[in-house]
């Protein structure tokens, strides 16, 4: 390598390495180290798995962890089921200007903060909200209905918030499937169902995988939606992390929780990639 090129390489490498090491790699290692500390006195610590043992022995923590994971998976699945027909419509049924307009419409809600979106659902779902009033007006309910502060409300919020991250990769992969290939499927005797199963869905797999990964991760790590839309009983794991850090000042346990959340999301992402034979580079990059 010529000297000039070497200098260029070093110059370009520096910001990347600083960013990744100082903001990503070292902080996470550090977080892991902190999670292995046990406070034995004022300012005195020793290395022990105590925080992880606390997690394993406290039913509330375990239950919340499992609940969060399962609900995040469910939210991912529902988002996929809702988004797929819409994405297919945008990519393969709509034409020209309609297609761009519909796609843009899908993006609009995500240019505003998640907080605003959640706030919208609160106005709709709460006891004095729009839907409750509508139901009473229509005679379907004889008193105000509280639809907020339960798991269903969380689910609605999560699905809504994640929709974009499913629609975009799905539309992108579906658009890359030539009409000709679909027509060939029918020409050779295929039906709606068989063309969908054998041609469209296999083709869309990369989009499905990357959409699911992102949606799952966002749902799992969501704090706002469960806090605002969920009730007293619907605790989310991120809320535990927040309370350990900010309310209880128990950083050691909070760090352990954070690490567990990271572990869970990495495992599921890795599993999904393994299952479908994709790599992170191809799916995300």
């Amino acid at each position: 390598m010529k000297a000039e090129a070497r200098i260029g390489l070093i110059l370009l490498l520096t910001p990347l390495l600083l960013w990744l090491s100082l903001l990503i790699v070292i902080p996470h290692i550090d977080m892991f180290l902190v999670s292995l500390r046990e406070r034995v006195g004022v300012g005195e610590y020793r290395i022990s798995p105590a925080n992880y043992l606390t997690f394993l022995t406290e039913p509330l923590y375990l239950r919340t962890f499992a609940r969060t994971a399962i609900m995040a998976m469910l939210a991912t699945l529902i988002t996929l089921l809702i988004a797929f027909p819409v994405s297919y419509y945008i990519a393969k049924m709509a034409r020209g200007r309609t297609r761009s307009a519909l796609f843009l419409l899908c993006l609009v809600p995500f240019w505003v903060s998640e907080l605003v979106r959640t706030f919208g659902w609160m106005i709709l779902l709460r006891e004095t909200g729009l839907i409750s009033t509508l139901l009473q007006w229509a005679g379907l309910a004889d008193q105000p209905v509280e639809m907020l502060y339960n798991d269903a409300a969380i689910m609605v919020g999560l699905v809504y918030t994640s929709m974009l991250f499913m629609v975009v990769p799905l539309v992108t992969t579906l658009e890359s499937l030539p009409d000709e290939v679909i027509e060939a499927g029918y020409d050779l005797g295929g039906t709606n169902v068989s063309v969908m199963r054998e041609i469209v869905i296999p083709h869309a797999t990369p989009g499905i995988v990357s959409g699911c990964i992102v949606v799952f991760m966002l749902s799992l790590g969501n704090y706002l939606t469960p806090t605002m839309l969920g009730g007293k009983d619907s605790l989310w794991f991120t809320e535990l992390i927040y309370s350990q850090f900010i309310v209880r000042f128990n950083w050691e346990l909070g760090a352990a929780f954070g690490f567990l959340l990271l572990l869970l999301s990495s495992l599921i992402v890795w599993g999904m990639l393994r299952l479908t034979g994709h790599t992170l580079e191809r799916t995300m990059g």
Binding site: E183, G189, E198
Partner: protein, 364 residues
């Protein structure tokens, strides 16, 4: 008389105000290779998509072996299509691609496997069924796409410019191969293309299409030597073309003065042309004799001398451009060695028989 495999009557398709296919009728006898040749945008793809069922015609009927298929959805029609970009399913192996239609028919797995193997043998690619589509070369993909249709034993196979994406050498080879495959499968092929040489080489019959209508239908030879319209004369094969005014008509022969002042003799081949009218005259470069001396051309009724302005060497298809008066005339250059030393600026004589000048009524 046996029924034609495919018969279209009065087929019409409009897009908004534009008429893409305008009352086209034709029939294709069993086992023949029929081509529709025309420039892009002439409506040939529309015809094909109407036959395949991807477009509904506004008028007319399509009959396969005497039975109308208008109300049959595309996935139930006894026609299959080789798409322009082949449309092989990239998510499947070669065997899965070929077996796709058979699976749709609910055929037993063992039977499918047997048929797929037989098809692979037939297209000269035995034993590659487990491979992926992207491991194939362009020509192999072509064959797989055809085999994928042929295992379904369609009454008619539609081919939508499938050679368009191939490079020149391969395209030449595939022309021959396609013709052989058609003979081997003994199936009716309907082939559309904008490439005249593809149509001329492979087809039993060709329809030349322009602006939604068939200009002429016939064998390649008929289209080439006896074009019935100015469009066919200009589109099939290379040709010199002049606009002019008719001076005299004597039986089938006529005399015409081109807009640049060249007086030419031509033939009207039975077309209604009268003195004073505008006309177009077409003369093929190979109909023109090139000589060094005027004497050899005495028996031609068109004779002129000129200067070579360019030599277009292209092996057997070499030409020279000869400047005669204000016109530049394209003339075949015989590769007999006689003109090996011909250079730019050389004085030459050219001549051709009057009946080689095909005349058509021209636009004023």
């Amino acid at each position: 008389m046996t029924l034609p495999d495919l018969e279209c009557t009065g087929l019409t398709k409009r897009f908004g105000t534009a008429t893409a296919v305008d009352a086209v009728s034709f029939d294709v006898p069993p086992g023949s290779f029929f081509s529709i040749l025309g420039p892009s945008g002439c409506g040939k793809t529309t015809i094909m998509r109407v036959i395949a069922g991807f477009l509904d015609p506004d008028a007319g009927d399509i009959l396969i072996r005497g039975r109308s298929i208008l109300n049959t959805p595309p996935n139930k029609r006894p026609v299959n299509m080789v798409f322009q970009h082949l449309a092989l399913f990239p998510m499947m192996t070669i065997a899965e691609n070929i077996g796709y239609g058979l699976r749709r028919q609910g055929m037993a797995k063992a039977e499918i496997a047997r048929k797929v193997d037989a098809a692979l043998d037939r297209i000269g690619l035995p034993g590659i069924g487990a491979r992926k589509i992207d491991e194939l070369s362009g020509g192999q993909k072509q064959r797989v796409a055809i085999a994928r249709c042929m295992v379904l034993e369609p009454d008619v196979l539609l081919l939508d410019e499938p050679l368009g994406a191939l490079d020149l050498k391969l395209r030449e080879r595939m022309k021959v191969e396609l013709k052989e495959m058609q003979a081997a499968f003994d199936t009716t092929f309907v082939y559309i293309t904008h490439d005249q040489s593809e149509a001329l080489v492979m087809s039993d019959r060709i329809a030349v299409m322009n602006q939604g209508r068939f200009e002429q239908m016939g064998t390649g030879r008929e289209l080439y030597y006896r074009p019935e319209t100015a469009f066919v004369a200009g589109f099939v094969g290379d040709t010199n073309r002049w606009h002019g005014r008719i001076e005299r008509v004597e039986g089938d022969a006529l005399q015409l003065v081109t807009d640049s002042g060249l007086t030419l003799r031509g033939a009207r081949h039975g077309r209604a042309l009268s003195p004073g009218g505008r006309a177009e005259i077409f003369v093929r470069p190979e109909a023109i004799r090139l000589t060094r001396s005027a004497g050899e051309l005495a028996h031609f009724d068109n004779r002129m001398s000129g200067r070579v302005t360019a030599l277009l060497f292209n092996g057997a298809a070499s030409r020279v451009l000869v400047q005669a008066g204000r016109e530049e005339i394209e003339v075949n250059l015989p590769q007999s060695g006689e003109f090996a030393d011909l250079a730019r600026g050389a004085e030459v004589h050219i001549g051709w028989a009057g009946d080689q000048g095909n005349c058509f009524a021209g636009t004023p």
